[in-house]
Symmetry: C2
Subunit: 766 residues, 2 copies
């Protein structure tokens, strides 16, 4: 059969697939002419037919068979296996190797030395029924990457989750962590902030433990009966100061090639200054039980069978860590399938491959979906199909310690990527449940169209319809937040909003450093259960039972992302819609207005209560109580530049969207120089949101709309220059970034207006 015949052979299957759609297609696919749209749907049916859950299961079992963190033989073996597979499937694939600072523990000790003695196990034993849990020859003991070496002995203080509000609470009780070792439970914000904030408050060491309330028996049955964290399970993880910059700490902003110019370790700002160690709740329980002093407030209590106290002491602990600080190699696999019409427009796709130990959930469950896509696309190519734009598939190494593989690659190829990339789609852990779409809002409509066309494996409706149902039901629950209600209303009225991206996976260098359009897509929410995160029990046997039994959501993810990749690659005009961007930034702008108002009224309220001595009168006089400090009054700021820029963006976006609707047909007849200009404008739209000097105090982060919060780590801060300045009461900086952000929006609008001019000059539809 030739190409056309092959496509026709799948038309029946495509029609069948359409019947199951909850979202009836009301017109051609975004960016396509009607004819090409129909052809694309047929192509997708062919694509779907290549996806086989048995493939995913086989790849997962093989790749998660041995420890595969940076530096292990199996990490390299998995790179070579992936490379070989990509080549087998017809891709132009290569290894790209970088040399990164990746410290590994040589010796680790944790002891309770007073009032009684206890030596922490710091060991995750083998569990019956989990075949790899005994296979630990190449595994490292549980540790946090990029903490400092040290040997400290000091009183212990419990700091809850170790976030800024927790230190405020400690201050209210007159408790200092200075010269002490803190013990924080996981949760509430990114792990790396816990030792950083502890250090900034004077602590000399930091323990982080997994409370059973958060992912142990408090949540569900523990492994192996259920999937939750057993008493000896430990959450490893990076504590590099990634909100400053991710990637190799020694090569910020440049690729960590063999000959790169490197910082000295002591000059690397993302390496912490105090030792930090993750521990199990089995090891934490004797330490917490040995604390005394005031009983903690209700929100600080975990699920251990004891009364939680702040300390300090009488518990005293010794924490000693020494590490190997040598450079290690990381292996990215990069695979190309060249575009037939626009080879220099790249549609990128990535998922990392390195785990903390076996990494079956994190990251291999997403990696196997990506492999399924690559295999199916390879099959299409073998049948004669070619993408119009170039597809680039990336298997990243070293994500866990600090997004190393993606960041070093993005930094090394920055100029080419900024010139060529039209979209980067990321995934990571993937499990049974609901689609979680997030990223650049110009692609929101594409995501909706795609998600409306993929069938949920369990319910038969589209994954979009299922997500919409959950948003509606969540918003109807008692205690639903105003945000939940607004999201549900938007979803009910039209397209389901996609979320904004903070950090925590390999999209960050693309979105926030290079300012390229980015999406992150995966399924989750019905995993049974994810309580083995970053532990030795994140294994094939565990995922096979609790992650995605049958691998149907692996296939669904390959369908969602595969469609998004293929439509972006094949569209006549890039499948962008700008009104979602304008509306979303309009919402963010309303939020920062409200934030300032809320700060003002909270400040007034607090200062009034201080004047009335109300805090002291309301406190128990038998307990130490230190009232909060008085804050200066909150000024009014000039939001006008931002408000005006949003108004303009809304109008410009609306005009361009209207013109783009008919563009796919008309552009075939456009003059080629104009077509080139138009394509170039559409390719790099997101760049308009970039601000070259970066965000305050962290120039690596260039995006003015989306950033990980300096004090949230993974959690996003939208309009970050404005929002973080307000939150931190830096009023002048807030006004400065109102201007910077307005400038970025106006640059975006300028670009939209030029696009509109070009489209208006296009010949009318025949």
């Amino acid at each position: 059969m030739n190409h056309a015949q092959r496509l026709l052979a799948f038309a029946g299957a495509a029609a069948l697939c359409l019947v199951a759609r909850a979202e009836p297609s009301t017109g051609p696919l975004l960016g396509f002419t009607p004819d090409n749209s129909a052809a694309q749907l047929k192509l997708e049916a062919t694509y779907d037919a290549q996806l086989n859950p048995a493939d995913l299961r086989g790849w997962l079992e093989q790749m998660a068979a041995e420890p595969n963190h940076v530096g292990t033989p199996h990490d390299k073996a998995n790179a070579e296996f992936t490379l070989a597979k990509f080549k087998e499937w017809g891709w132009d694939a290569r290894l790209e190797v970088f040399q990164v600072l990746y410290p590994t523990p040589k010796s680790v000790t944790l002891e309770l030395v007073a009032p009684t003695r206890f030596t922490a196990k710091l060991h995750e034993p083998a569990i019956a029924g989990d075949r790899t849990s005994a296979n630990t020859k190449d595994a490292l003991p549980p540790y946090n990457a990029y903490g400092a070496d040290g040997d400290v002995t000091a009183e212990l203080v419990y700091v809850n989750q170790g976030m800024p509000d927790d230190y405020k609470e400690l201050e209210r009780h007159g408790i200092s962590v200075k010269g002490r070792i803190v013990i924080a439970r996981y949760g509430g914000g990114w792990r790396g902030l816990k030792p950083k904030l502890a250090y900034e408050h004077g602590a000399v060491g930091c323990l982080i433990y997994s409370d059973p309330k958060d992912d142990g028996y408090g949540l569900g049955d523990v492994y192996p009966k259920g999937g939750q964290r057993p008493a000896d399970g430990v959450q490893r993880g990076s504590v590099a100061d990634m909100p400053l910059y991710p990637g190799d700490p020694l090569t910020p902003g440049i690729g960590a090639t063999a000959d790169a110019k490197r910082l000295k370790i002591e000059d690397a700002k993302t390496i912490l200054k105090i030792p930090v160690l993750p521990i199990s709740y089995g090891d934490a329980q004797p330490l917490l039980a040995a604390l005394d002093g005031t009983v903690v407030p209700p929100g600080w209590r975990g699920a251990l069978p004891l009364t939680y106290h702040f300390g300090p002491g009488p518990a005293k602990v010794r924490l000693a860590i020494s590490s190997d600080w040598s450079l290690k190699p990381i292996y990215n696999v990069i695979a190309f399938l060249s575009g037939s019409e626009h080879p220099d427009e790249w549609v990128l796709r990535g998922n990392h491959r390195d785990g903390w130990v076996f990494g079956a959930w994190d990251p291999l469950s997403g990696h196997i979906a990506m492999m399924a896509e690559a295999k199916a696309i390879g099959a299409l190519a073998k049948q004669g199909w070619k993408p119009k734009r170039t597809l680039v598939y990336c298997s990243w190494d070293g994500e866990e310690p600090g997004l190393l593989g993606s960041t070093e690659w993005a930094e090394a190829h920055a100029e080419e990527l900024q010139r060529k990339a039209v979209l980067y789609i990321n995934s990571d852990t993937n499990t049974r449940g609901f689609l979680n779409p997030s990223g650049s809002h110009a692609f929101q409509e594409l995501v909706n169209q795609v998600a409306g066309s993929v069938r949920d494996p369990q319910t038969g409706v589209s994954v979009l319809a299922r997500l919409r149902a959950r948003l509606q039901v969540d918003a109807a629950k008692p205690g639903a937040s105003e945000d939940d209600k607004e999201l549900a209303q938007l979803a009910a009225a039209g397209s389901v909003p996609i979320a904004a991206l903070g950090s925590g996976s390999d999209f960050t260098p693309f979105l926030q450093h290079l300012t390229l359009a980015t999406l992150n897509l995966d399924f989750s929410g019905e995993e049974q259960q994810d309580g083995v995160y970053h532990s030795i029990y994140d294994s094939f046997d565990h995922y096979d039972r609790f992650g995605d039994p049958g691998y149907h959501y692996g296939v669904a993810l390959a369908q969602v992302i595969g469609r998004a990749m293929l439509r972006t690659a094949d569209a006549d005009v890039l499948p962008l819609q700008f009104k979602d961007t304008a509306a979303t930034i309009g919402r963010y702008t309303t939020e920062v207005h409200k934030l300032l108002d809320a700060l003002r009224s909270a400040t007034e309220q607090k200062n009034k209560l201080l004047e009335q001595n109300a805090y002291v009168l309301a406190a128990d006089p038998t307990q130490t109580y230190v009232p909060p400090a008085r804050d200066s009054a909150v000024p009014f700021l000039n939001f006008a530049p931002l408000d005006n820029a949003v108004t303009r963006l809304t109008q410009s976006a609306s005009s361009v969207d209207a013109l783009l609707a008919s563009a796919p047909v008309e552009l075939a007849h456009m003059e080629s120089s104009q077509r080139l200009e138009l394509d170039s404008l559409l390719q790099g739209m997101e760049a308009a949101f970039g601000h070259a000097p970066g965000l305050p105090g962290r120039e690596w982060f260039k995006h003015t709309i989306y950033a990980p919060g300096l004090l949230t780590g993974y959690g996003v801060k939208t309009l970050p220059g404005v929002r973080e300045a307000l939150e931190d009461r830096r009023w002048a900086e807030a006004e400065q970034y109102i201007g910077v952000t307005a400038g970025a929006l106006n640059t975006y609008s300028d670009r939209l207006d030029r696009i509109a001019t070009l489209l208006r000059q296009a010949p009318p539809k025949k």
Copy 2:
């Protein structure tokens, strides 16, 4: 010294006391002429000087030395001791004895019979340092009074707190309790509702346990290190269906005198139909650990170190209870001090005396404050002072099993009380902390004036200022409810609102059956800690450390209630202010409007989600899920009668308050027949809120404004006829009770208008 000299001798002390007041007195006391107001303040100083914390401690130690529940020798001994003391202090005191049904356990067995075997201890062992904990010769084993006898063996189901929403959650999971035994944790609503609702859902037995999250190690250190409930501590308590009627189950509506006509036990509607037993978390843990099935939702999880499951089974338990159902005597002590001017206007004061075992906290901590008042008032009388109105002090027996002493006495003396009582002030457990004022809102201003004049023992400001500070600080906390914010605003703007009374102590027969003005006053909030509620460890040694060390809040309560009693007894005109009643009922009316609107929008939302199949799509298909049933649309109702009645009440109250301000001076010259009519109108104002046929399905409860909720038990439902009909979607009944309630308000306004007419006819101020 004569009376005047004695008063003068205390003038200095009174002035000193005034200096410490946070609330400067801006005019005469409510209801007093300026001269009499000044004299009253001097009297209060004399009164204060009689209060001695050592008295309180001594009485507590003696009265809590032996088990003192109904039927014990020490219960009778405490009655006789109280009687003797009242007499010694110059009161005309007597014992009033009733014969009540009070079942006591003869044998109790609880066993886990599958999948493993375990026999519950059902025993609270002696604790070192708690001297009475070994003194259990007369103690009963832990039990729930008025559960049924029975011997049942069945599968166990965990029902969280066993409240209506919990059964809805079970329905969503397809779980029935029919033919099973439920295990509920304490909390969320009144204990007696747990077995009642379990029975109504088909259960054959009910266990109620104290989860350590709620009053054990989850809240603070357990006894004896701290004050919280130890593993073997059990919360006893009544499970009679008191929202139907409290008091002796065999004599509803009449006094349980020796010759009273009694129901047969099987006809008494307040006795439960299934066996029910309270157990410790030590005994509960093996039962809960033996449950399997679906993991419960987050809100259902306690603090035991296990994963909570719904069941049913595989845990199977046997519960066997048999009881002695004979009548037992209860001993009320009633003490009179006759009024000099209005002997037939009674100001009543009560606190119960019986505990579940030793009862140091509950009730003796309140009882000793009441004794201190009686002693101090007696001393005033011995100095020659006489109250203008009659004071009646009541030491109730049998409160714990069902408000027996107060209810039987109130029923026996109903006609006289309705004719004579001007106010009943109740207290119960009293501890270190903040004043909790609640009751009839016509006395809100009196409570504010009194609380503004009593110094908080710890901070030196008035107990009113301290309460106001806490309301402000609570309302400023993140997540504060709209109710909290409204309360704080009202408190900041003027008088601190007093709460509405539900049930749970001896005020209920006075307020809700006889429709008499009632207050409940006590301190709490800083007790360290109350986790021994209704257990053997509610002891003198425990209270002395954790309840109110130094007994300063016992003295403060005697000051607050003593002032309220003396001012009400001595006022020239009863110290009433009606605008607070009008404003409060106005708020309640707004609430029921909003309730109907909220029901309508929730119904619309639910039905829409059902139409879209959203609940099913949002649920995990691997778990049983039963969507909620569709509800019929919520109609609009005619609130006009109620709204108009509130408007009228507001105007009438405002007029009367203005006239009452000058009344104390003018009334001295009023014609005596008019004065008699006025006094009679003021005495029985609250009666206007009565509705003789009572509330739907529970005629014993007559008050149209305040009632314990049928489905909350202790928790109040304001405008209960309307609110509960709305909540239960009985629309016709809601409209009927809108009319009934409006009628009560109009009767109240009629009375106010007649008062205004009388006051306008009074001679002008000279």
